[in-house]
């Protein structure tokens, strides 16, 4: 009997449950989607290195999933609170009819089971379908190919999803029971009083506050813009605080200012149903200012993460291609003691034959007495790299290579060599920050005295002469061969191009060599010691990290987007429950149905729209700021992520606000507003 009643309740209050159900299903499908990442190796051809990244990412997402489940748990509790509120009278009726509290709780519990069970089913199905789309994104992110198109499906993930959500529902049901047991019968039967509205006070102070808030947003942004994003954490942190405080402040004071503005413009205030809409929005914004601020912040975080995350990964990879252009690099460090020995010869002494690995090219690195401090003295504040450099006060001697060595290396990579004139020097660097400074040096035809001889800067190139895990070579001189001969030789660098057919095994082989050989800095063979690093290692370290954070970012981003819209939707629907009389009154005094619907559309539109607008404005300011400040990020990379973000927002944000609107109208209908 109770079971039938519960099932009938769910079916009948489908409008009320619709939004709750949707959120649950989306949550389940997201959970499934991100936890099924590991299953994608079924169809994507990952390399050994990528599999390790995948494993790490999977682990991180597992941890994030726990947090996400807790957040969703809170959301479900909140949604349930709304459902209980709405159905107080019904439960009160059950109790007055003589049903025991336990029985009513059982009805509630059964209802939760039906809805949750259905949501789990639907969510998992959507999740499985979503996984197929997700594998496209994954293959793109990893730069791996999809080998077979087949339906990816994992029983383990399904079991995990069900486990987590069942646990969550049980917790929620317990909280419901606890909350319900605290209701008094009288409370159930009498609808809660609305909090009382008042005219805004201290209008002048608030108007001033509004101006100050907007000003502080502007000052905050100009601080962030003037300070170097990475360098000056205190200044940009202060700027960020000003922006945040200013935004919340302008939201708080802005509601009053807007209301007053409209009231001054009487002809639009006293037009059609405008008074009702404006007053209602003012009331709701005033009441929920904290939620709206948090939602705006979450939306902003989601937008920027989604839009910039992919570009950042692209940027990191673009940078990697520059700082780690070779399959592997081995550096012979004892060139000072053995100036006539090549790296290959030195390695042979340690029973390592470079020819076994593939092709290689050697380049000799010399040391000059010119320090970076002197060379860049004029450009101390040109960029963050030089600022750090000068702040630390380190004195680093600039290295040099011969033009023939350099051109040979370019040839080895299939790049164009340079034609160096006599008494000229070319500059190379792999720090992208430096490009502007180098270009200026070239343009100014700067001359530099190297070991007592004057050279004019002829050209520059952004190139690496060895693999590095981050760009370290601020500048290296490329000098005519005859000039270099007298310099002190520091290192011999061997760059390897591995035989593609056996590359993967070779890397493993190299890493073994490295483990027992290069990584031991004091290892002494007959001739000295070596350092080395493979491209694979660098990629794994760097892209592994960014990929991991990107997944975590997308996951948290989408979940907070869904959470935000759900909260907004629920607040609107709580409102309609308390506003039955209002619509009844409007209807009776002759406001047309069309006008009432228009009012609701405006109300929901603004309520959803303002946080979105705020988030969009801040995102629009932040994105260019980040892109111009982070090297290797550019606007072209942004197109696809922006489209993706836009589509996602249209789907989730648009979908939820539309559904809120239809539910709103539906509830009015069910609440039996006469003449609806």
């Amino acid at each position: 009997m109770l079971r039938q009643l519960a099932w009938r309740n769910v079916r009948r209050s489908i409008t009320t449950y619709r939004l709750y159900f949707l959120t649950l299903s989306v949550a389940v499908s997201l959970f499934y989607l991100f936890n099924s990442l590991g299953d994608q190796q079924q169809i994507i051809d990952f390399s050994q290195m990528q599999l390790e990244i995948l494993a790490n990412t999977k682990q991180a997402l597992g941890v994030v999933s726990i947090i996400v489940t807790i957040v969703l748990g809170f959301l479900v509790v909140y949604a349930n609170h709304f459902l209980l509120q709405q159905r107080k009278k019904e439960f009160g009726l059950y109790l007055t009819l003589g049903m025991g509290q336990r029985q009513v709780l059982k009805i509630l519990w059964l209802e939760t089971c039906y809805v949750a069970g259905l949501a789990l089913l639907v969510g998992i199905v959507i999740g499985i379908l979503g996984t197929q789309v997700m594998s496209l994104i994954t293959s793109q992110l990893f730069g791996a190919e999809i080998i077979t198109y087949k339906f990816v499906f994992s029983l383990m993930t399904i079991v995990k999803t069900i486990m987590y959500f069942v646990l969550m529902f049980v917790t929620v049901a317990c909280i419901n029971a606890w909350r319900f047991s605290r209701y008094q019968l009288r409370e159930l039967l009498v609808a809660k009083q609305r909090s009382q509205i008042q005219e805004p006070k201290q209008i002048k102070a608030k108007a001033l506050g509004f101006v100050v808030s907007i000003g502080s947003v502007a000052i905050g942004y100009s601080l962030i813009m003037s300070a170097d994003l990475i360098m000056n954490i205190i200044v940009s942190g202060l700027g960020a605080c000003l922006v945040l405080g200013g935004t919340v402040g302008s939201l708080y004071t802005g509601t009053t200012v807007t209301l007053e503005y409209f009231r001054k413009r009487k002809s639009s205030y006293f037009h059609s149903v405008n008074i009702v809409v404006i007053r209602q929005l003012f009331y709701q914004f005033h009441l929920n200012i904290a939620t709206i601020s948090i939602v705006s912040l979450l939306l902003f975080a989601t937008m920027t993460t989604l839009a910039l995350g992919f570009s950042y990964k692209d940027a990191v990879e673009a940078n990697l291609q520059r700082i780690a252009p070779f399959d592997a690099t081995i550096v012979f460090q004892n060139a000072v003691e053995y100036p006539d020995m090549s790296a290959a010869e030195a390695l042979l002494q340690a029973d390592v034959n470079l020819d076994d690995f593939g092709q290689y090219d050697e380049i000799n690195l010399y040391r000059t007495r010119v320090t970076e401090n002197d060379f860049f003295a004029q450009y101390q504040n040109a960029n963050s790299t030089l600022q750090t450099f000068f702040n630390h006060g380190a004195t680093v001697n600039i290295s040099a290579v011969s033009v023939s060595d350099y051109n040979q290396l370019m040839d080895f990579q299939g790049k164009t060599p340079i034609q160096l004139l006599d008494n000229h020097v070319a500059l190379i660097s792999n720090v992208s920050d430096m490009e502007g400074v180098l270009a200026e040096l070239v343009k100014a035809q700067t001359s530099v005295s190297i070991e007592g001889k004057e050279y004019t800067v002829q050209t520059y190139a952004m190139e690496s002469i060895q693999n590095e895990n981050y760009g370290r070579d601020t500048v290296i001189f490329v000098l005519p061969d005859e000039a270099i001969s007298g310099f002190e030789k520091q290192q011999v660098i061997a760059n390897l191009s591995l035989n593609p057919a056996t590359a993967e095994q070779t890397v493993i082989q190299l890493q073994q060599v490295q483990a027992e050989f290069f990584d031991n800095p004091r290892f002494n063979s007959e001739t000295g010691y070596f350092t080395g690093i493979t491209k694979a290692e660098i990629y794994q370290e760097t892209t592994g990290q960014t990929t991991l954070w990107l997944y975590v970012g997308i996951y948290i981003g989408i979940v907070s987007l869904v959470a935000s819209v759900t909260v907004l939707a629920i607040q609107q629907l709580i409102e309609v429950n308390q506003s039955r009389e209002r619509y009844q009154a409007l209807k009776r005094i002759g406001v047309t149905q069309a006008d009432i619907k228009k009012m609701i559309r405006y109300q929901i539109g603004f309520y959803f729209g303002i946080p979105l607008l705020l988030a969009t404005i801040h995102t629009a300011i932040t994105i260019p700021l980040v892109i111009t400040n982070v090297p290797d990020m550019n606007f072209e990379q942004l197109l696809n992520p922006l489209v993706f973000t836009f589509v996602l927002f249209v789907m989730i944000y648009g979908g939820y606000s539309y559904m809120t609107y239809t539910s709103y109208c539906q509830i009015l209908k069910e609440k039996n507003v006469k003449g609806w």
Binding site: V273, R279, R582, L586, I589, G590, K674
Partner: protein, 252 residues
């Protein structure tokens, strides 16, 4: 001249074949312009249904209602909305003021939805508020007002558009006797000074005694009606009590 309101053989049935209940069962009545009519009857007599039908919130099953020479029962939903907006004023037991609007804005709303201009709105409200002595409370929100004040604001909202007919549904139901008296004086004032036509449904003989004419209904039909004529209010009250006793049934 045609009466302002004519109700002819009005029927309103609820339910289906088996469990048919007749809320209105051949109701006939007329109201002249400028009248203040009370409608009384026991619970379940069809008072509220009659009011809802007149208010065009409910559609009659059969019969006709003519107001200002327009037949209401055949109007389309959209025409009804416009009709309700322009021709009718409402006063409800529960005030039905909008909580988020000030008293002034509540009254103004009735005009803004008709597309009235701001300067005219200001002038009209100032004048009416003065007459109804609510000028000092215009800036307050409903929750800051007493029941009596709320109901006078509601009365102002009902009359501000100069409707052909004001429908009042138990307007004193939620008021204490002093506030009720004040409101009834206000209604009388509207009726006499502004020539508003009022139809008031009530179960309270005291309230009813303020009207010029009382229509008693029972079982969905007009049972009797009495005119006040030149009688004093207390004489009229005595007659109402006497007739109520004949009519029997509960008035609560």
């Amino acid at each position: 001249m045609e009466p302002l309101l004519t109700v002819r053989e009005l029927e309103k049935f609820y339910g289906k074949n088996g469990a048919l209940s007749k809320a209105l069962d051949g109701m006939n009545m007329t109201i002249e312009a400028g009248e203040f009519v009370g409608v009384m009857g026991p619970s379940g007599s069809g008072k509220t249904t009659l009011l809802n039908c007149l208010a065009t919130i409910e559609r009659a099953t059969a019969g006709s209602i003519t107001l200002n020479e327009r037949e209401l029962t055949t109007l389309k939903p959209k025409e009804l909305e416009i009709f309700r907006r322009d021709q009718l004023g409402f006063i409800f037991q529960e005030f039905n003021l909008i909580e988020t609007l000030t008293a002034y804005e509540n009254i103004a709303l009735a005009l803004t939805i008709q597309g009235e201009r701001v300067d005219k709105i200001e002038k009209k409200i100032a004048q009416l508020a003065n007459q109804l002595e609510i000028t000092s409370i215009l800036t307050k929100f409903p929750h800051e007002l007493s029941g009596g004040q709320k109901q006078r604001v509601a009365a102002a909202r009902a009359v501000i558009t100069n409707p052909a007919l004001i429908l009042a549904d138990e307007p004193t139901g939620a008021l204490d006797s002093k506030s009720a008296q004040k409101l009834l004086q206000t209604l009388t004032q509207l009726n006499q000074q502004l020539a508003a036509t009022i139809l008031m449904v009530t179960h309270d003989p005291v309230s009813a005694s303020y009207a010029n004419r009382i229509i008693f209904i029972k079982d969905g039909k007009v049972f009797n009606e009495i005119h006040r004529g030149d009688q004093t209010r207390s004489e009229f009250f005595q007659r109402i009590i006497a007739l109520s006793a004949v009519l029997g049934g509960s008035y609560a």
